[in-house]
Structure formats: structure tokens, C-alpha cells
Amino acid sequence: MHQFLKEIQNRFPIHDVKEQRKNLTLFTTEKEQVVPLLTHLRDHEGFTHFVLLTAVDWIEEDLFQLTYILNNPEKKVDLGIRAYIGRENASMESAHHLWEQVATYQRELKEMFGIDFPGSPRVDEEFFLEGWDDIPPMRREFDSKKYSEETYFPRPGSKSHDPGEYMKQKLYSDDYEEEE
């Protein structure tokens, strides 16, 4: 394990540490710890390059996973920090003051997942989706297929057949009895 991980472990509650590659380690921490941890990593561990922030919807567990990826340009390692927050009224402490581009990521997450970052600049401004009137579309319960079928007008085309079913009708419909 990297030396810095041991250091971090002494200061912050981290778990589920996974060394994915030599230059990429991921771990989980509590959501309250994220901003202090990011600050610590930036200021004391050389993780000065903020790579990305994104969310993963674990709808089955009613959780959003937030993943922050940082990079240490000196040591040339990446670090993935996971935190889980409830899906209901999802909200997370903002990290916009640490790197300038973080506010943009947070604005996107607000729009696409409905995760709020109170205090983050322009977090409520429309970003990609001007005039969107449905639920945040990256949430798993948003059914893009249904949405497009209801919103657009598919060009009617020929009917597609399942080969197995089609052969049943053509060749042996008589032999076959669906169970009631």
C-alpha cells in the first residue's frame, strides 16, 4: 500500500480500499469527511490536480455514490474517493472553493442527478438542459426509452420478428402449447 494511504488512514476513516492499478487506488469515506479529506490531500499530500467528480446511482440501495478523482502530478498516482449519500433530497457539502472547476461538476450533478451542493456558485442555473421539465435524467428511474417513445415520432417501419418465435408459427405452431 502506498505510504500516503497509511497517513490518510491515521487521520480519516477510510474503508473498502482497492488498489485498482499501481497508479490508481480507490477508497470510501464518510460524506462529512470528503471536503476535509480533499483539502488535506491537496494541501499536504500533493494531490493538486482535480480530475473529476461524478455520481453513480445505486437505486437498488437507495444511494448515490459520489466519486472524486484526484491526481498527484509529482508522484504520478490517481486517487478515487467514494462517498455515499441518500437518494432522497440528496445533498452534499460543496468543494467549489478548492478548485475552480468543481462548481461546474456540482452544477452538472444538480441538473442530471438532482444532487444539491448548497453554496456552490450557479448550482441552480440550467446547464445542459434548457427547458427540461422531467426528473433529473441521469437518475436510473428516468426511462429514456419511454421518454423518447412518448416525445418523438418513430418512423413506422417493417415489423421485426424473433427468429425462434417466427419459426414456431411457421413450422410447428400445432405442436406447441404454451403453458397456461
Binding site: T48, H49, L52, I69, P73, K76, E100, P121, F128, R140
Partner: protein, 458 residues
């Protein structure tokens, strides 16, 4: 490789211009860097050919050093509000709002800027995207992993191959498959060809943004030659769909090696000609030098990567820092310059272009004759990827380009998201940079950042 030989290659390519850089600015960012940076003052030792020690440039630099919205009192500029953004009182009659975009000006793509101007000077800028949001990351939810391949590459239109690569690599990593050696070489070839055709557009495009159209046509011609090679190798010109989890989709065609090596001569010739008409053009120099200055201390603060960081003195290149594929078997030096303006960034790309041509020749000579180009992979229709997550990155022409991929163990990805350089270059950074610049320079600054909206909104 000896240091001497290394320098030989570089000096052959760039003459005295090239200065290998120490990672001078690789310290944690100074959170408050409104102050002037030492880099501007003579820190840049990489001289511009033909310019005498860049004296005029320096004057400009100091002019622009206060770009990060300082809370000043001068009447001409609006005061900054609590969030650090200027508070514009439109009713005062001093300011005008203009929209630039979202028409597609060529290299910079469909996005628009909401500019607040005072005279012809910009006092506030907001980036607007959303004109080409295609929802790819949502679409992936109902794509089999193999079906992601032809979709994901559209996330970055002009340089689609990087998408193919990072996606394939991520799937391979999560499923414990390794692409055969030959596939790795072929992937590098395609990635470098992809970088090259992109640079052939952007380098002369910088002149285009100032009204110098002639190099653009030349670049397009050489780019077409590269696209011909792509067509031969991959079956497509723009969307190559050549890399897929497990390897690549074809070996080198007969005679390809020789034709490709010959084509590189055209690239060098083009580099020479664009040097003559653009880089040594007094008008271009005047417009580009000192314009669009990026303070080196912003690099980490804004997450600046690629040529934009390398023109500010940072030696950062994923190919070197996190060697992937077989890049560690190639010999080259990462171009780094320091003046950090439009001119320098164009120059960095011009150098990159030739390094890339050089790499392509090296790769072509190293691709093994024998061996398979695709590892066996399970039935594409039922391929379930073990639960896990990874972030895989590569160096695109614009810098660090990565995919974060999460698998829930099913045949469909749980989440794939793209980290593209423009996400920060074209929003946080551009919005800051434009303040106090002249409206006539906006296009040129965008080109110099190589903004690419499709990778912002996916």
C-alpha cells in the same frame, strides 16, 4: 537512449527552441494567485523564432496579470459580487450583452458565450453549452459493453479514437483481459494518427481565428492524407471504430507502412510552410503574442492539462507520466514552453504535431509482423463484466482524457463518464480568461484552448 541522442532528435525537430523543462511549476497551487507570477517575467526561456527575446510580449503579460477578477475600484469595470463574479448593472447604459455562438465556427464547436462588454472589452463572460447534448452517458445504461464502442467514440467528434481506447482499456482492465502486443502497437499508431489529424486542423486553425485562412486549407489537405490512411487501416475516415475491448479490428494493410511513412514527409513540409506563413507572420505574431495569457499558477487551480499546461511550463503528458500501451518503448521528449499565451500554445501544438509524426514513424517500424491483434473475448451479446470500477486515461491532443467506468456485474455498464479537457478549459477557465480581453480575440483564445464542446456535454 543517451541524452545526446535525445537532444539530437529534438534539435533536429525544433532547433534551439526546445528546452527540456524541469517540473518547475509542479508544486501545489497557490490558492490565491491574483498576484503576478514570476513565470511571466522572463521565466519563459523558450524563445519565439524571429522575435527578439520577446520584449514586446512581456509588456502584454503584465497587462494581463490581473485577470483573476481582482476587486478593483476603477470605474470602467463593474465591481465583483460575493461570488467573485462581476455585478453588471445593465441599466447604467455602460454595458452591452452580446452572444457569440452557438453557431459552429469550425474548430471550437457548438457552444456559445454570453459576453458582457464595455466598448469592445469584455467585462463578464458565461459559457453556455447544451446545443449538442446527446445523453450518451444515459444511453450507455441500455448498451451492451460491445455496443458502447460505436456510441462512445462520438463523445469527442474530432478525435474519436481516444474514446475507443480508454473505453476498451477500461473494459479489459475490469475483466482481466489483456490486448495482444500487436494490438497495443496498432492502438498507439491510431492514437497518434488521430492526434496528428487533429493538430493539422488546430495548428493552422489558430491563424484562421485571426483571419489567416490559407494555412487552414493546407492543413486540411494533409489531414485528408491522414484520413486516407485511416480509411485504409480502419475502414472509416472520421469514426474509425477500430479499437474494441480485446484488441483492434484489423492488421496493417499491404504497403501501409511505407505509404504512412511517406505521408509523414508531407507533415514536416506542412510544418515548415505554416512556420513561414503563420508563426513568422508579423500580423499573427502581433495578435497572438501576449493574448490569452494563462498564469501558471492556474494550472492546478483550474485543472488545466495538455498543451495548455505545457505552454505554461508544466511538463505534463499522460503518455510519460502514466505510460500506457507501449509508450515507454518510444523515444521522445515532451515539448514544454513557458510564455503561456496564444502564440506559445499554438507553437506547442506545432511542436506536438512533429513529435507525433516522429512517433508514428517509430511505431510503424516497431509493429510486429506476426501475432494476433485481438484477444479472445466472450460472446459480445452476453458479456458480463465483473463488478468494479476504474478510471482510465490517455493523452489526447488536448490533454488528459479519461473514462470512469463502473460495472455492477451485469452485461450493461452501470456508469461511464468522460473527463474531457474542455470541461474545465472551456468553462471555468475560459470564463475567467475572457475578462478584460478584446472581443476580437475571443475566437482566437477559444482556439488556443482547443475547446471541444462535445466532450463537455457528452
Amino acid at each position: 537512449m543517451t541524452m545526446k541522442k535525445k537532444n539530437d532528435i529534438l534539435s533536429r525537430l525544433f532547433g534551439k527552441e526546445h528546452r527540456p523543462q524541469e517540473n518547475k511549476h509542479n508544486q501545489p497551487a497557490d490558492a490565491d494567485s491574483g498576484k503576478s507570477s514570476d513565470a511571466g517575467k522572463g521565466g519563459g526561456t523558450g524563445s519565439v523564432p524571429g522575435s527578439d527575446s520577446g520584449a514586446s510580449g512581456e509588456a502584454h503579460y503584465s497587462d494581463h496579470n490581473h485577470n483573476i477578477a481582482p476587486d478593483h475600484t476603477e470605474d470602467k469595470y463593474p465591481r465583483n459580487g460575493k461570488d467573485g463574479k462581476p455585478e453588471v448593472d445593465l441599466s447604467s447604459g455602460k454595458y452591452t450583452k452580446v452572444w457569440q455562438g452557438p453557431n459552429h465556427p469550425g474548430v471550437t464547436g457548438n457552444m456559445s458565450l454570453e459576453l458582457t462588454i464595455c466598448g469592445d472589452e469584455i467585462v463578464d463572460a458565461k459559457t453556455h453549452v447544451g446545443y449538442l447534448h446527446r445523453g450518451f452517458e444515459k444511453l450507455f445504461e441500455r448498451r451492451l459493453y460491445m455496443q458502447v464502442m460505436p456510441t462512445c467514440l462520438r463523445m469527442c467528434v474530432p478525435e474519436s479514437d481516444t474514446n475507443e481506447y480508454v473505453f476498451s482499456e477500461a473494459v479489459e482492465e475490469l475483466s482481466g483481459i489483456e490486448a495482444p502486443e500487436k494490438a497495443k502497437w496498432l492502438r498507439m499508431l491510431v492514437l497518434e494518427m488521430s492526434r496528428l489529424q487533429m493538430l493539422l486542423r488546430v495548428v493552422p486553425g489558430q491563424g484562421g481565428a485571426f483571419g489567416l485562412g490559407i494555412g487552414v486549407q493546407w492543413g486540411m489537405y494533409v489531414r485528408e492524407l491522414i484520413l486516407d490512411l485511416f480509411e485504409e487501416l480502419t475502414g472509416g475516415r472520421i469514426y474509425h471504430m477500430y479499437m474494441l475491448p480485446g484488441g483492434v479490428r484489423g492488421d496493417l494493410p499491404e504497403g501501409f507502412r511505407e505509404r504512412a511513412i511517406k505521408t509523414m514527409d508531407e507533415v514536416y513540409r506542412f510544418a515548415q510552410r505554416i512556420d513561414d506563413v503563420m508563426f513568422n507572420n508579423s500580423v499573427f505574431k502581433k495578435r497572438a503574442t501576449g493574448t490569452g495569457y494563462i498564469d501558471p499558477s492556474w494550472v492546478d487551480r483550474f485543472g488545466i492539462v495538455g498543451p495548455n499546461a505545457r505552454a505554461a511550463g508544466y511538463n505534463r503528458d499522460v503518455r510519460k507520466d502514466h505510460p500506457y500501451l507501449l509508450y515507454d518503448q518510444l523515444e521522445w521528449e515532451v515539448p514544454v514552453l513557458e510564455k503561456s499565451d496564444v502564440y506559445t500554445r499554438a507553437r506547442i501544438r506545432w511542436m506536438d504535431m512533429q513529435v507525433t509524426a516522429d512517433l508514428i514513424k517509430q511505431i510503424l517500424n516497431k509493429i510486429p509482423e506476426k501475432g494476433s491483434f485481438k484477444a479472445p473475448t466472450p460472446n459480445a451479446l452476453n458479456w458480463r463484466i465483473p463488478r468494479g470500477e476504474t478510471y482510465v486515461k490517455a493523452e489526447a491532443s488536448r490533454g488528459e482524457f479519461g473514462y470512469y467506468v463502473v460495472s455492477d456485474g451485469s452485461a450493461y455498464p452501470r456508469r461511464i463518464t468522460l473527463r474531457g479537457p474542455s470541461y474545465t478549459h472551456a468553462i471555468a477557465l475560459l470564463e475567467k480568461m475572457l475578462i478584460r480581453t478584446n472581443i476580437a480575440d475571443v475566437g482566437a483564445i477559444m482556439v488556443s484552448l482547443q475547446t471541444c464542446p462535445p466532450e463537455i456535454e457528452r
